[in-house]
Subunit: 415 residues, 2 copies
């Protein structure tokens, strides 16, 4: 079997990632909330790189950067995102964008490959204003009303205002052109330690977990923290903390082997030291790749909420903010990634589900989609210490570009 | 026994309270955080009223409004505060200030009374920047370093910046002039339902509860809410909610009959739905009139913190933000209030402790101090529904002014 060619330039890939890290640097990571100045500068930076990959660059009305090729032949869409979580790591997002850019640079001018790689940076994958707003817009699953309602979860600023401020208001939103792409490929750091702890280089993603998110509200009675006896209090904060502990007590009996749940935010209202909270709210998330498990757990949540309300002190409301059907990755894409890993990573790959959400799950609703992971040191992500070794980054790039080449040529298995 | 004269103008008292309610109105209450525009406008309003009570008005370098009399004879200091909790009631603070103003208006021009009532509005009793900053400044218990360190608990703005913004930076801070005052009198709504439920008009305060406040911090490990298995998480938010529930389980065995405790605020860091909180923090308060009870409970808190830390997932730190020795109210002041209640409220008074903190506890460290309560409808306070009937407000004003007259004349008992 002849070794396939790779013209991946590892130095260039690392330099590009570091160029993006230099925009909005925070400690060893970055702070690039959606539509912040460093985020917009990163989008601009990408738009300036795309012509070097023979792509026409455009930033659309939701903040997606899209590079389109006029080359004939099949087209593969590839990308990820450029904004970060608040005060987070440098690779979550940019890695997949730079791999896509590198693939386009290598492949689009290669006369030996019929077709091209087109590059996308999806806006707001990290969910500052919602969830997967950019990729959902592209697949036609985001209405104007959704945008009207979207607000920055940190600052409360409306998305409309943010779009106006960064000069994107009024631009058209790009949408998928049916039949244009043979599929979508995305790379990402693993955000777990499976690869690192097993000495593997590539994760071939089989499915992306579903994410269900809830706002759980507790209504009690606001009162003075000195003059209101313990026995007559209707403390919404106490009800909330008991609810959290009850979740951890009761979920294990009904959850699946890979279910995870998280309370990411708690707000007591009014939040003053001398006032008994009259309202309290928690953001609660469940992830699983089995919708039946989620259904059981949501039913349990509703039962628990009704039980607390029935006790008469505080009433509990459960609002579903987000649901996500688990997404299967395309079998041919999985085969292509595995074959490319055999060629460029000594076969050090493993098939694995993704417990994190990614734009690929949105794209998978309109075209075949695939994902590959590279190792993440210590499994750390969404944190400034997030990192991957240079060697693993370059290996990942080689596997990614080779996967693109194979997909465009229709070579899925090794050989 | 001759009925004492009262020239209290109930219509004027109610009109003044409504004038203050019209500044910074929020629903049926007010929103006047310390140094906000409506708070400053309220201070200005008071400064403009004081000359009508033959008082020279000044706003000092910490935001205290002080009305000084040049009349000879004994002087009684009286007042309360004008800022509010966020989105709270209209009487908490203003009632005591307007009673003091009315007493000054009635008494300072009365040739029959030797001496005068001086009026104070203490800044930040509600603790936006600290606790009792204004009255502590006046009694000499607030250092420049304390002011340097003070920050608005809602906005994070430093007190120095706030003082600059409202034009108070650089002004001298007024301090107590030893021997000038025979004591300090303060009126307040009860903030509980003892008076209302017993059909009483006046609470004669015997002591003010001590308030101990803590910041309890939990340090775990921030990580991805999808990819981090439940078994290996170090979720600071989970540790915090368990701690809250454990407090409610373990405090009852060691607390006193009137102990109350409250978690007023919870913060999970970074506070995003898809991130396991790496840090969490709660503001926790204990109130009791017995320092030994507090000591037992603080010891328990430290034991609980050490137990959690020893389990190895999250480490817990306990920082004492505030301690308050319970304050005894002066016996002569209590007698004078009771006698005035006999004359103007048909004797419908009761001696009771205050479970809320008040500036009187700070003033009591440098001069005799007394407090009276008026009924609070439904016991509600620190809420826009806080209210007292007009009749009770006017009765309270009559008792307050009569108490001032008796204290200045040295008549403590009835007769």
């Amino acid at each position: 079997m002849p070794q396939p060619l790779s013209r991946v330039d590892g130095v260039r890939v690392l330099a590009d990632l570091n160029a993006l890290r230099a925009i909005g640097t925070y400690k060893t990571g970055v702070h690039k909330p959606t539509f912040s100045e460093p985020h917009m500068r990163s989008l601009q930076w990408l738009a300036e790189q795309l012509p070097k990959a023979e792509l026409d660059a455009a930033i659309d009305g939701i903040g997606n950067v899209l590079g389109s090729s006029s080359k004939s032949g099949p087209k593969l869409l590839a990308g990820s995102h450029l904004e970060s979580q608040n005060y987070a790591g440098w690779l979550d997002g940019p890695l997949g964008v730079i791999y896509a850019l590198e693939a386009a640079r290598v492949i689009n001018c290669d006369p030996d490959v019929h077709g091209a790689v087109e590059v996308a940076a999806w806006c707001d994958e990290e969910g500052h204003f919602g969830h997967f707003l950019g990729s959902r817009s592209y697949v036609g699953a985001l209405t104007e009303a959704d945008i009207d309602a979207a607000r920055d979860r940190t600052t409360g600023r409306s998305m409309r205002e943010a779009l106006r401020d960064v000069g994107l208001a009024g631009r058209p939103r790009a949408t998928v052109e049916p039949g244009r792409h043979i599929g979508y490929l995305e790379a990402h750091i693993e955000q777990g330690d499976t690869l690192e702890s097993s000495g593997l280089a590539i994760g071939v993603v089989t499915s992306i977990v579903g994410i269900w998110q809830y706002r759980i509200g507790f209504a009690g009675e606001q009162n003075h923290a000195g003059t209101t006896r313990m026995a007559i209090r209707k403390d919404a904060g106490v009800a909330l903390t008991k609810f959290c502990v009850a979740i951890d007590d009761r979920f294990p009996a009904l959850c699946g082997p890979r279910t995870v749940w998280t309370t990411g935010r708690i707000t007591l209202d009014p939040g003053a030291p001398s006032i008994i909270p009259g309202h309290a709210e928690m953001l609660f998330q469940i992830r699983d790749d089995d919708p039946e498990v989620i259904e059981r757990l949501e039913k349990l949540l509703r039962t628990m909420a009704a039980e607390v309300t029935a006790q008469g002190r505080c009433s509990v409301t459960l609002e579903r903010l987000r649901t996500g059907t688990p997404a299967r990755m395309n079998a041919g894409f999985q085969d292509a990634i595995e074959a490319a890993s055999a060629a460029f990573a000594g076969g050090r790959s493993i098939r694995m589900p993704s417990a994190a959400g990614h734009d690929a799950q949105i794209l998978s609703t309109v075209m075949p989609a695939g994902m590959l992971f590279v190792p993440s040191i210590g499994g750390i992500s969404h944190h400034v210490l997030e990192n991957t070794s240079d060697a693993d980054i370059v290996t990942g790039a080689q596997v990614f570009v080779e996967t693109c080449r194979r997909l465009l040529k229709g070579i899925l298995q090794g050989g």
